[in-house]
Amino acid sequence: MARTITYQQAINEALAQEMERDPTVVLFGEDVSGGMGSPGEEDAWGGVLGVTKGLYPRFPDRVLDTPISESAYIGAAAGAAAAGLRPVAELMFVDFLGVCFDQIFNQAAKFRYMFGGNARTPIVIRTMWGAGIRAASQHSQALHPIFTHIPGLKVVAPSTPYDAKGLLIQAIRDDDPVIFLEHKVLYGTEGEVPEEQYTIPFGEANFVREGDDVTIVALGRMALVAQQAAAELDGEGISCEIIDPRTTSPLDLDSILESVASTGHLIVVDEANPRCGFAADIVAQVAQAAFGDLKAAPRMVTPPHSPVPFSPVLEDAYVPSPDQIAAAVREVSGAARARPA
């Protein structure tokens, strides 16, 4: 049996192993060392939540704190990659995309295309996403639909420690720009993770749970919330299949279609806002490709079209819950029963 470590430890281990393996991997961001130039430099933070702790003493020439200047250092990641490094830049919270988006979507994402295929931009932007820690509207968002919309970017959102390590190693070795979304609520979750290095290919969904009646597509933290709902529904005799796409770009649509062909029902659970979102995209693609397989209208379970609120009562109401998912499943499967065969 493999050893059990946390999601956070899995990320740290992937970074350490890849930096050990490849001297062109560099890690920088706000506080990734967390103490450069300070008296306690040797025992520095290692990121605001300690995810990169211990890497600076081990790789002092390749782990750098940055000024709080996201545009400059995310752009520097793009320039460094074009010149041959494999930078892993940490954008502390995905919400800070708002101050550096140009360097991601007008620069890094487009180099290869604009330069007629004559560029590689192997950057990884690691960033913390999601609601759940009462961090309010500017530190809690789910912005994967925005990244997924941009041609040239790959978008990864692991839901388990095993996936976190394998997908991060893949991201670092990948030759395209990758947005690597680490869900802050999952950092402490535990799972079996091999000590050796391994990669998980992008665009290969994980069948988290097999089932017969309803297909649930869920990403990141929502993959766990969907499992809670599925366990509850088991008791009612409703069998749910859960698919975690793991990457939203590229997307493993085939696995979703395969599941829908067997269940006839689709629920997409997503932590992002609903309009022009990831859930809407999955529903549209399934409707276009496999309308005949659907026995009822697909359903999206998402937060409302609102920013993430602060108050615990409001935030808990914002994030999709097992109860909301279960209600949606009952509704579509009930609708199916009401529909003439």
Binding site: T24, V26, F28, D61, R62, L64, T66, P67, S69, S71, A72, Y73, I74, G75, A76, A77, A78, G79, A80, A81, A82, A83, G84, L85, P87, D102, Q103, N106, Q107, F111, R112, Y113, M114, F115, G116, G117, N118, A119, R120, P151, G152, K154, D174, D175, D176, G203, P250
Partner: protein, 331 residues
């Protein structure tokens, strides 16, 4: 003062002088011709011409190696030529042709050739300085002596990316030379307004970087300050900010009616502030170069640009089926 009396020019060999003249003349000829051809409607999109500022591109880029990098601007043709990009490939790119440097996917605003260290013209004002910091980081991590040059206009020097990059380069001690090409107009807006009379060099000083302002029409002056800044960067001495005071002979973009400029302003500039005339005057009066040698370069350059335009016009269009290629290395 004759060419041989200036410290920088006295270090230049005859070949270097001829090379500098050829590069400046090529840029001038290229831009004057694109101006004419654009007016025929045959060139798609929009172009921003560099004519008038040739001494800056040549003064800086001819000091660089192929493995040094330049992050350019929307007004990037001059930097690309001076950094060694293929002139015919550039012209074909501006015409949107398959044979262009970027196979028609980039156009004037995205001309790039990483094999020549040309990190791209850039359609986003202020887009380049952070990229140059990344190149500098690459040199630092690899412990190479490569240098990155970031070109920015006076307009771009107001972007947060520029100011952030000055500070990042200082904090990380990067081998970057920031060059502001202050051509007197941020599109149409004067620095008298948008920088309220601020001395741009102080922006570097505010981040702890040495800075110097220089006449951007004077190749020798630009070369001298760039030489010092590049040498400092190569030797591990960190970044420098250079302001080149210049002007452009054309509008912000082709088609710009330039109603914001004074009547006769451009004509006066062409008469009194022409880096090519100044260069030719200095090197010939000093006896370093024979006027006939410069005339020969003029002719060769005209022929090159004629060929570049003819070949670009005759070149095949991109294949429409390639619209979705080159997005990813793998997907």
């Amino acid at each position: 003062m004759s060419a041989v009396e200036t410290p920088a020019s006295s270090e230049l060999t005859r070949d270097e002088l001829l090379d500098a003249y050829r590069v400046m003349r090529t840029i001038r000829e290229f831009e004057e011709r694109v101006h004419l051809e654009f007016a025929t409607g045959e060139i798609p999109g929009f172009v921003h011409l560099y004519a008038g500022e040739e001494a800056i591109a040549a003064g800086v880029c001819l000091l660089l190696r192929d493995d040094d990098y330049v992050a350019s601007t929307h007004r990037g043709h001059g930097h690309a030529i001076a950094k060694g990009c293929d002139v015919k490939g550039m012209m074909a790119e501006i015409y949107g042709k398959k044979t262009g440097l970027c196979h028609g996917k980039g156009g004037s605003m995205h001309i790039a050739d990483l094999s020549r260290g040309m990190l791209g013209a850039n359609g986003i004002v202020g887009g380049g300085p952070p990229l140059a910091c990344g190149v500098g980081l690459n040199a630092r991590v690899r412990q190479s002596d490569q240098v990155a040059v970031s070109f920015t206009g006076d307009g771009g020097s107001n972007q947060g990316t520029f100011l952030e990059s000055l500070n990042l380069a200082a904090a990380w001690h990067l081998p970057v030379v920031f060059v502001i090409e202050n051509n007197g107009y941020a599109e149409s807006t004067s620095p008298n307004f948008h920088q309220a009379g601020v001395d741009l060099i102080k922006r570097g000083e505010g981040c702890g970087l040495p800075g110097i302002s220089v006449d951007g029409f004077d190749f020798f002056a630009v070369r001298e300050v760039a030489s010092e800044a590049i040498a400092r960067a190569r030797a591990g001495g960190g970044a420098t900010l250079i302001e080149c005071k210049a002007s452009r002979y054309f509008g912000h973009f082709e088609g710009d009616q330039q109603t914001y400029r004074a009547p006769g302003e451009v004509e006066e500039l062409r008469r009194t502030r022409d880096c090519l005339l100044a260069f030719a005057g200095r090197v010939t009066s000093a006896g370093a170069i024979d006027p006939g040698e410069l005339e020969a370069i003029d002719e060769q350059t005209r022929a090159l640009i004629d060929e570049a335009v003819a070949e670009a016009k005759a070149a095949p269009e991109p294949d429409p089926s390639d619209v979705g290629t080159d997005v990813y290395v793998s997907y």
